[in-house]
């Protein structure tokens, strides 16, 4: 097995295990930390796909900013483990059958996706076989500011709206 293939399996395993830990275990802080580990695995996969800029931006934005936001919220709200009955008085028990049914549905979805992909033609070719990579940051910038200019401007408005909305929604009412 080539070194690149080995790295693919290692990073894929890290991403999948991290995601499974996110949904599998009860403490929210550990969920957030497991997701950060999964993001590192995904970042490695982006490096293998010859997209170094996306890999680093994934760490900066997702693991470095969005997850810090989640971590702050979890710490400030002092979120306990799920189903801790002494705190969640309204709904003290974890309902067993919905959890099992949900897991079954998730597994069915995974199997459906894998089955659909296995019946698609043209997926056997290597990712790097046909065309050379376009990974220069200058090329990214050029295409972003020419072809995708409208989306870029709309995204900036979206960010301002989200900022203002978050501040307004989380503000304490002065009663």
């Amino acid at each position: 097995m080539g070194f690149d293939q080995l790295l693919f399996y290692v990073f894929a395993a890290v991403a999948v295990l991290g995601s499974l830990l996110v949904i599998g275990q009860t403490s929210p802080i550990y969920s957030v930390l497991a997701l950060i580990v999964a993001f590192f695995g995904l970042s490695g996969l982006y490096v293998l796909l010859e997209a170094p800029f996306v890999a680093v931006v994934q760490i900066i934005i997702y693991a470095g900013a969005i997850m810090v936001l989640f971590l702050f919220t979890v710490m400030l709200l002092n979120v306990p483990r799920e189903g801790a009955s002494d705190w969640d008085r309204g709904h003290p028990h974890v309902r067993v059958w919905p959890v099992r049914l949900g897991t079954v549905l998730g597994v069915v979805m995974a199997l459906q996706l894998v089955w659909a992909l296995s019946r698609t033609v043209g997926l056997g070719a290597g990712v790097a076989d046909q065309r050379p990579a376009a990974s220069e940051v200058s090329e990214l910038g050029r295409v972003l500011f020419t072809d995708y200019m409208f989306a870029f401007e709309v995204t900036s408005i979206l960010i301002i709206v989200a900022m203002v909305g978050a501040v307004v929604l989380a503000r304490k009412r002065e009663n």
């Binding site: 800029f53 400030l76 979805m109 995974a110 290597g126």
Partner: protein
Amino acid sequence: MPLGHYLVLSGLLFAIGATGVFVRRNIITLLLSVEIMLNAVNLAFVAFGRQFGTVDGQIITFFVMTVAAAEAAVGLALVIGLFRHRESLNPEAFTSLKW
């Protein structure tokens, strides 16, 4: 690496995220599962972008990341507001329309 491997991984991560949305009874973990799904989609975009040799896949991932960031910010602000109202983060505590 064949493109199929990357797409299967992306599908698997998407299914894991969807399972999280079905199974978890904590709003913050629900938001985390949605983030997993968005990342799975990003991976598929970058893999296809690499196969066709263009940067378009990578550029779309920027927009997905930005939307994810905005959605996480507003979602968490809503969670804080909800928590102040009902002192619970279980989505089943918010099933009645009127208090």
